[in-house]
Each structure stands twice: as structure tokens, then as C-alpha cells.
């Protein structure tokens, strides 16, 4: 070992530190000449004669130096080049093997690089910006947003080189030739493009001067995708006017196609609009549309800590001007991009890690198959290997050659895999997902992180494919076998069998994970959301900004409900702010809630929504006590609320809360007192898998707000269906400028099912792939062992064994491998899958017995089938001819 290290050191020195080696050679030659001169002088020559004679005897010094240098370099480079060339030629001589190995590696590497690209896009890559390493994101106080005024104060303080704000939680109505589409824009402060400095495919971004909110700018910058897909890549787009919220906005720029938004998570809002009165009518109040998240740029040379301190000081100075005390502290101040983004989205990050591990396992199983192929190839090349050993090839050289083969397969596989990855990520980018903004996955083959990852995959693949053949070829017994000893009745636990056991074990873990996610999907589908989804439809309505006052909007909603009620087949209709389990599900409130008339107050945490009269009837939510909302619960009248069972359970255990008044956070800073008039059945509010939440329904009329968004709900009679278009028409007649999106409740819940669906789809696919690959491995091993055991089987048959007995013999060996793999896999799965429980619905543990049992049975059945196919060939053995062949 130390000899090997010595030589490695020597080679590295001669390649990188050629100078030192040259100097030592020169010393060596000088010494040689001195010795010769000494001898010549002793023989009686004069000093000058002695010298010239010594030099003559030595020959041309520079040539010798050159030759030595070549020897050093050539030895390493030449042998590697030779092996690469040789192994490539020898692989191309078996094109079938080459294609099978390369294509399976390509699929595995495509899976790995696709997941990596997604991880990179969602979690890692910095936004596309001028020197993104100076961009920071920050939160003031506990919240994620600050108001427009607060942004202005912080920005003007000069604490950072630049400070911009953005908001992608509102929507705008885009009126095209024949429809109104609701878009999720990126609403940004005027200096946004100055601070970020992205690249443009066309035109430019707006500058802070021209987009000042006070001048109500009507400019828009488009993403490349929006321009391509929605505007047909119109080359004349600059200067064209697009109508947002019934107002023309002039297109002044199109972002470059590799633009990555500061929102992260691959979300790419489609249009960039400057914040102004048309989007947020009153910039100086607490209008939620005028709130922005902050992204800043550090001064050149400013450290993160300096920047944080500067912003904290600016916040302290500005804080006294505001009622809401959020500027006094800096909640978060971090660089954008890199590892820290994982912290923000723990569940997403954890899921991506699961995916990375899963695709990594696929690669491992694939490599084991390729290693199996190479092993059987090695067996058939026994004589070639023997010859090479006899001719003086060292073990190391054999290993080097086998590694070269693995390297070729890995390299070609990676090339194919990266091309495939481009295709899959392209498909993913255009997949219609129920998300507010499209996902943009940039599969950039020049991305340094992707390249490093691909290089690592090639090295790992090379190693995994070659390690078993190397072990096999350099084993002593192999050397003996090479001397043409008859192929023995192989040991049961040879390398190939071990590989298959490993494959089955890994496949079991993958399959179990898939099983868990599939069970999760079916269980979450069966979860009771707490309201009726079969007969209800929901319409999301986005109004144009400023068209209604809170009062006139309420009138409008009541008119809409009245018209919907008169549609044939409609039983009930109502309205509300949010719709449960959709993207806009309502609010989450945490507050200290005092009970009126007592000194009692409790810390409450609940989901709340503002709903109209008839909401509970329309949604099919049972009122267990008291009443729902009535038409006479109006503004100015006594405020009323309905709470759910969980709310009572948590905050009024053992009491009757009906008639009790509590003070809830509300329209005024001190909140408003509201009487509990009803108790509604529990339901799900934000996600299907959530723990039961406390819920409060407030009367829409008493809590109406500045939102431009509302939902209308329609319940049809049993057996009647109403086309969504019909509902949209009725609503559209009332206000053609509103964007209306009608869906049956079932499909509106797509968002709620998305995580479990994606999980089941992705891991289900990977589990199936893993199973298939492991079975290919088992199939190959059984058919190889049958072909090697033909003489043995012939003897057994000749001695009177029945064919059934022979079949059992072969199957028994195969199932021993499968069962061993399963046992190892089960033990491993017990430990590996426990972190998965965070993704699963309550009640489904990661150690779900049904999944463990089901997976094992499935794997063993498939194994038996995979073994049975080649095992049948054992039955076809003709004892006479097989014995004769022997």
C-alpha cells in the first residue's frame, strides 16, 4: 500500500511539479559525470581531458533529460489512454451490451440530474441578478411584509446600496381580446430593477424615476415565458399596451429566458408591475396590496452583519412614525440563494432530499445490473484475462482497464442522461399544476452546480459498475480459474448473487416508500373535508381595483347570489371571502381574546373566514347548536360569529359558549366584540392533512374589507349538474370586468391534493422503476445460473430427478436471494422510512404494517415470476445431449 502511495506521489510530482524532478535529475547526471571524472583523473588524464572524456561517454545530456521526462509522463498518460482506447474498442465489439448498459445508466442519470435541477432551481440557485452574491432578503419584526411607506423610509435611509420591495400575493385581471384572465403579477417598488439588475431579452426595466408610485405608472415588464406563450413571441411587443384591471399598461421590456425570480421556489410570476394607485389605491394606509417583502443589495464591501446593523438602525429611527411596531427589530437578514433557502421551506426541502435519495438508489440498482453484465462478460473473457496476466499485466493494470470500461459506460450514460433531463424538465415546466404562478425550471447545462453534480455521478457510476468486476478479476481463485479449470458449481454467495441481494433490498425500501405515499394519497382522498364536495361548485371572483366600495361590493355579491339561486337545479347559493382547502382558504389568526363582561382572556389560534348568509347550508356544513348567518346580520347590527367544535373544545371546555361575547381582532385596532351564535361541525381549512384546527366564521357584512377577491358558492339539487360556464355567465352579466373562475368543488380542491398526488406520482414511479430494475437483475442471475448448470441438471435428470424437482431447485436458489434481500431491506426500511412520517396524513405512520406486509408480498411475488421465466429453461434440458456436451 505504501508503495502505491509512493508511486502516486512520484507521478503527481512529475506531472505537476516537473521542476523539482528535473532538478533532481540534473543533480544525478552531474554526480555521474563527477564520478567518471574522478576515475579518469585517477587513470592519469588531465582535468580537462577527464571532463571531456566523461561527457563523451555519457552522451548528449539534454536528450537524456528529455527521455527521462517522457518516461515519467508517458508511463501514466499512455497507460490510461491505452486502456481507454482498448476498453472502448472491446465494448463496441458487444454493441448489445453497450446499448443496454448505456441506456439504463442514461435513464438513471436523467432521473438524478432532473431531481438535482429541481432542487437547484427551488432551493439553491440565486436569482438572476447583477452580482447576486450581494443580494439579501430581510424581514422586519415578526412579519414577512412591510407597508409601502415603511419600505420608503428604510430605502431612503441609505443603510444598504439599494432596497426594493415586491409582492406576488395579489392578482390582476388581464383583459385579452375575448376573455378576462386573472394573473398573479409581481408588484414591485419603482427601484426594483435598479436594485436587482436582471438581464433583458428585449427592452429594459422601469427606472425608479419613471415608475414613482405617486405618478401612477402604467408600465409593465414581461417574463420571457409570458411573452412566448401568451403573446405568441410578438416581435413588436415593446410599446404595446396590455390591459390590466381595465387600464392600459405599456410593455417596456421582456426579461431574458434564464431569469429566475427573487420569489424563489421556481415560482415565476408572469408580469412585473410597478406598485401604484391602480393596484393599491391607498399607498399610505394599511392596504394589504401596498405591502411588500424586502430584498436589498449590500454596499460593495459591506458584510452581512454590517448590513443588518445598518437596517436595524434605520428601522429604529423610522419606527416611532408607525402604529404597528414591526420596524423595531430585524427578524431575518440573510443572503438570497444557497443552503439557507432550505430552512425557509423545510417540508419541501425534506421532500426533495427524499427524492434525491430515491433517485440515487435507482442509480445504485442500475449500476448493480451493469456490474452483473460486466461480470458475466468477464467470465466469458477468462482466457483473454489469463493471457494478459501471463504477459505481465499487473492486477493494478487489469483493474485500471476494467475501471476504464466502467468510465466509458458512465460517461456515455451521463451524456444521454443529460439530454433526457432537458426533455423531462421541459415537460415539468409546462405541466399544468394548480399553483398561483407557473413554475420555471431552468435546465442549464452550463450551470456549475449541475456540472459538478454530473461529474460526481460519473465517478460514482464508474466505481459502482467496475468495483465488482475488479474484485472478481483480481481474485486469486479467478487467476486459477483463468487457467481453464472447469467452471465449478459456483459458490452460492458469489459476487453476482450479493449484488442481487443488495438490489432487492434497495428496491424494497424504494417500493415501501412508494407504497406509503400511495396509501397516503388514498387516505387523504378519503379524508372528510367537513363539507360537501359532490354537489357544490365554487366561483373565484377577482374584481377590478377601485370598482367597488366595501358596501357596494356586498350589494353586488347579494345580487349575484340572488341570480344564482334562480338558476334551475340550484338549491342554495352563498358567498364568502375564502374557500376552504383552496389557495385562498381564509386567514390564520393568533390573538389574545378577551371574554366580554369578565376579566377572562385566552390565547387563541384559529382559522377564520368571512361568509354570507346561507353559507353553511350551501357548503353542507352542519350547525350543531344555535344558528348560521341570516340576512339580518348586517353592518351596524350586533356582531355575530359561528365557531367550530374544536374552538369550543379548546377554549370553552365543558361550557356552553352560545350567547358569550368575545373580542376578536377586527376592523378597529382594539378589535370588536362578537357574540357566538352557533357551533358548526369541524372541517379542514388549509390542508387535508392538517391537525384539527379551531375555526371562526365571521359575518361577511360585518367584516367586509378591501379585498378585491371573493368566492361564490352554489349547491345543486341531487342529480343535477350545472356547467361551470353557465355559472360564469350569470356572474359575468353582473360585471363583465371581473375575472371569474368557476370549478366544481372537487377540482377546486386540486391544490389540497397536490402534495400527496405529487408525492405518490413521483415516488410511485421511482418505486416501480426500482422494482423493475431489481427484477431485471434477478432474471439475469437466474438465467445465467441455469445456463451454467445445464450439465448438473442433465446429470440430475439422468439419475431420475423429476422436472418439478429441478424447477424447485432453481427457484429455491433464486428465492433464497430474494428473501435475503427482503429481510435486509425490511430492517433497513424500518430505520430509513421513519422520517417520512412528516409527509403522511395523521393516522398513517411510516411503520404502517399494511405497507410493510404489502410491499414484501408484492416483491416476493414479482421475484418468483422473474425467476420462474428463466428457470423454465432448466426444464428444456435434454439429459442425453447435455451429458454428451460435457
Amino acid at each position: 500500500m505504501s508503495r502505491l502511495l509512493d508511486r502516486v506521489r512520484l507521478r503527481i510530482r512529475s506531472l505537476v511539479g516537473g521542476g523539482a524532478a528535473d532538478a533532481s535529475l540534473r543533480d544525478e547526471i552531474e554526480l555521474h559525470l563527477q564520478e567518471q571524472i574522478d576515475e579518469n583523473i585517477a587513470a592519469g588524464m588531465t582535468r580537462s581531458e577527464a571532463r571531456s572524456s566523461a561527457v563523451r561517454a555519457f552522451g548528449p545530456v539534454s536528450l537524456v533529460e528529455e527521455q527521462c521526462r517522457d518516461t515519467r509522463r508517458v508511463a501514466i498518460v499512455e497507460s490510461v489512454v491505452q486502456d481507454l482506447r482498448y476498453s472502448f474498442r472491446s465494448l463496441t465489439r458487444q454493441p448489445l451490451l453497450l446499448v443496454a448498459a448505456v441506456s439504463s445508466i442514461a435513464v438513471a442519470i436523467a432521473a438524478n440530474t432532473s431531481v438535482f435541477t429541481i432542487v437547484n432551481e427551488l432551493m439553491w440557485a440565486p436569482p438572476a441578478a447583477r452580482s447576486p452574491e450581494r443580494l439579501v432578503e430581510m424581514r422586519m419584526g415578526g412579519g414577512s411584509h412591510v407597508s409601502y411607506r415603511q419600505w420608503w423610509d428604510l430605502s431612503e435611509s441609505g443603510a444598504l446600496d439599494g432596497l426594493a420591495g415586491y409582492n406576488f400575493e395579489t392578482s390582476v385581471n388581464w383583459r385579452t381580446a375575448d376573455e378576462v384572465v386573472s394573473l398573479m403579477p409581481m408588484v414591485v417598488t419603482p427601484n426594483f430593477f435598479d436594485v436587482i439588475g436582471p438581464r433583458f431579452a428585449m427592452g429594459r426595466g422601469f427606472t425608479a424615476d419613471e415608475a414613482r408610485a405617486e405618478s401612477d405608472p402604467a408600465l409593465v415588464v414581461l417574463t420571457h415565458r409570458f411573452w412566448r406563450e401568451r403573446l405568441g413571441a410578438d416581435p413588436q411587443v415593446l410599446g404595446r399596451a396590455l390591459t390590466f384591471n381595465a387600464r392600459p399598461f405599456t410593455v417596456i421590456g421582456v426579461l431574458s429566458s434564464d431569469f429566475r425570480s427573487v420569489a424563489g421556489l421556481a415560482l415565476s410570476p408572469e408580469v412585473y408591475l410597478p406598485l401604484g394607485p391602480s393596484l393599491a389605491p391607498d399607498l399610505n394606509t394599511l392596504d394589504p396590496a401596498a405591502h411588500v417583502q424586502l430584498v436589498g443589495r449590500l454596499h460593495d464591501g459591506q458584510t452581512l452583519a454590517d448590513g443588518r446593523a445598518a437596517i436595524a438602525a434605520a428601522g429604529q429611527r423610522a419606527a416611532p412614525a408607525y402604529v404597528f411596531k414591526n420596524l423595531e427589530t430585524v427578524g431575518q437578514f440573510t443572503f438570497i440563494g444557497g443552503m439557507q433557502q432550505f430552512g425557509r421551506q423545510e417540508v419541501v426541502a425534506a421532500f426533495l432530499v427524499v427524492l434525491l435519495v430515491a433517485v440515487g438508489s435507482i442509480l445504485a440498482i442500475t449500476c448493480a445490473n451493469v456490474a452483473g453484465l460486466l461480470l458475466s462478460r468477464l467470465a466469458s473473457r477468462g482466457r483473454e484475462m489469463a493471457l494478459r496476466v501471463a504477459l505481465g499485466a499487473s492486477k493494478r493494470r487489469l483493474a485500471q482497464q476494467l475501471l476504464a470500461e466502467g468510465f466509458w459506460l458512465a460517461l456515455l450514460g451521463a451524456a444521454g442522461g443529460l439530454l433526457l433531463m432537458k426533455v423531462t424538465t421541459g415537460l415539468l415546466s409546462s405541466a399544468p399544476l394548480p399553483l398561483p404562478a407557473p413554475l420555471d425550471i431552468h435546465a442549464d447545462l452550463t450551470d456549475s452546480r449541475l456540472i459538478s453534480y454530473a461529474v460526481m455521478l460519473v465517478l460514482v457510476t464508474t466505481f459502482l459498475c467496475a468495483v465488482a468486476p475488479v474484485l472478481q478479476a483480481t481474485r486469486k481463485s479467478q487467476m486459477a480459474a483463468l487457467k481453464r479449470l472447469p467452471a465449478g458449481f459456483g459458490r452460492r454467495w458469489n459476487l453476482r448473487n450479493l449484488l442481487v441481494v443488495g438490489q432487492v433490498a434497495v428496491a424494497l425500501v424504494l417500493l415501501l416508500t412508494a407504497f406509503l405515499f400511495l396509501r397516503n394519497l388514498t387516505l387523504s382522498r378519503a379524508l372528510d373535508p367537513g363539507f360537501d364536495v359532490s354537489r357544490t361548485s365554487v366561483a373565484l371572483v377577482n374584481f377590478v381595483e377601485g370598482r367597488y366600495t366595501p358596501a357596494s361590493r356586498l350589494v353586488w355579491l347579494e345580487q349575484a347570489v340572488e341570480r344564482l339561486r334562480h338558476l334551475p337545479g340550484v338549491e342554495h347559493a352563498s358567498y364568502g371571502r375564502g374557500a376552504p382547502l383552496t389557495l385562498r382558504s381564509g386567514m390564520t389568526t393568533g390573538a389574545k381574546v378577551p371574554v366580554e363582561g369578565t376579566d377572562r382572556a385566552f390565547q387563541a389560534f384559529y382559522q377564520n373566514n368571512f361568509v354570507g348568509p346561507g353559507y353553511f347550508e350551501t357548503m353542507g356544513i352542519e350547525i350543531l347548536a344555535g344558528r348560521g348567518f341570516r340576512d339580518d346580520d348586517r353592518r351596524g347590527g350586533p356582531a355575530v360569529i359561528v365557531v367550530n367544535e374544536e374552538f369550543v373544545r379548546r377554549y370553552f371546555p365543558g361550557e356552553d359558549p352560545l350567547g358569550v361575547s368575545i373580542r376578536l381582532p377586527g376592523p378597529t385596532p382594539s378589535g370588536y366584540p362578537a357574540e357566538i351564535v352557533g357551533i358548526a361541525r369541524d372541517g379542514k381549512y388549509r390542508t387535508l392533512a392538517e391537525e384539527q384546527q379551531a375555526g371562526v366564521y365571521e359575518a361577511y357584512s360585518q367584516r367586509s374589507n378591501r379585498d378585491r377577491m371573493a368566492h361564490l358558492f352554489v349547491r345543486t339539487a341531487d342529480g343535477v349538474t350545472i356547467a361551470p360556464r353557465e355559472i360564469a355567465r350569470v356572474i359575468g352579466e353582473l360585471d363583465p370586468s371581473a375575472a371569474v373562475d368557476v370549478q366544481p368543488m372537487k377540482s377546486a380542491l386540486a391544490f389540497a391534493f397536490l402534495p400527496s398526488q405529487l408525492g405518490a406520482a413521483l415516488l410511485g414511479t421511482l418505486g416501480a422503476l426500482g422494482l423493475l430494475l431489481a427484477m431485471v437483475g434477478l432474471f439475469a442471475v437466474v438465467s445465467y445460473s441455469v445456463s451454467r448448470r445445464v450439465p448438473e441438471i442433465g446429470i440430475r435428470l439422468a439419475l431420475g430427478a423429476t422436472r418439478g424437482a429441478v424447477l424447485r431447485l432453481v427457484l429455491r436458489d433464486a428465492m433464497t436471494l430474494a428473501i435475503t434481500g427482503c429481510i435486509i431491506g425490511l430492517v433497513a426500511a424500518w430505520f430509513v422510512t421513519s422520517p417520512l412520517s412528516i409527509f403522511l396524513v395523521p393516522g398513517l405512520g411510516a411503520s404502517d404494517p399494511a405497507s410493510f406486509v404489502g410491499t414484501t408480498i408484492l416483491l416476493l411475488l414479482v421475484s418468483a415470476a422473474a425467476a420462474w421465466l428463466p428457470a423454465r429453461r432448466a426444464l428444456a434440458v435434454d439429459p442425453v445431449s447435455s451429458l454428451r456436451a460435457e
Binding site: 508503495r3 547526471i29 554526480l31 555521474h32 567518471q36 536528450l63 527521455q67 515519467r72
Partner: protein, 110 residues
């Protein structure tokens, strides 16, 4: 760079390995020894020794160590490694076979 034919190269390797088999020597001493032992029949160009030495060192058959020459100078000494000893045995064997074979052919031709 011209490369000696395999026969010559192999022979020179054999001579070098044999020469350092007894004790580690430095380059000049190896050349001197080969000359002496062959009673001055084998006159190698002394310089051509060094590429061969370096190649044998790369292959792991020789290893270099520091030493002091008879004249008191510090020099790089070459010693035979275990792998080199095996290689020497192999080369001696094949040399024997070759010379026997050539001897047979030559004598038969007489």
C-alpha cells in the same frame, strides 16, 4: 524520441535489475558494474541508462533512496523492490528460455 527495440530495452532492464540485486547502487556505479562484469564487452552509452532507471522506478521495480558514494558524495541510490525481485526472476527465466532456444537453433544450423 527514438525508442530502443523491445529486445534491447528488455535486456538493459535485466542487466540493471541484476546489477542492483546485490546492493543498492547509484547510476554511475551501475554503468561501471555492467561494464566490468561483462569484461568491457557491453559498452552502453552511459546516458541511456537513466531513462531506463526512471522507467523501472515508475513501474515500481526499483525504488530510490539517498546514499553516499565511495568518493563521499551524496547520491540517489537505486534499490530493488520486492516486485522488482519477482520481475528479475521472470526476466531471468525468459532470458534462459530465449538463450537456450537461440542456442538450439544456432547449433542445429551449424
Amino acid at each position: 524520441m527514438s525508442r530502443p527495440s523491445d529486445l534491447i530495452q528488455g535486456t538493459l532492464d535485466l542487466l540493471i535489475l541484476k546489477t542492483v540485486a546485490l546492493e543498492p547502487r547509484h547510476g554511475w556505479a551501475i554503468a561501471k558494474r555492467i561494464q566490468q562484469m561483462s569484461q568491457d564487452v557491453l559498452q552502453i552509452t552511459q546516458g541511456s541508462l537513466y531513462p531506463a532507471l526512471h522507467r523501472l522506478e515508475q513501474q515500481g521495480w526499483l525504488k530510490a533512496q539517498a546514499g553516499v558514494t565511495d568518493s563521499g558524495r551524496e547520491a540517489k541510490f537505486y534499490a530493488l523492490t520486492a516486485a522488482g525481485r519477482k520481475q528479475l526472476a521472470r526476466e531471468l527465466e525468459s532470458w534462459d528460455r530465449l538463450s537456450t532456444a537461440i542456442g538450439l537453433v544456432v547449433r542445429e544450423a551449424e
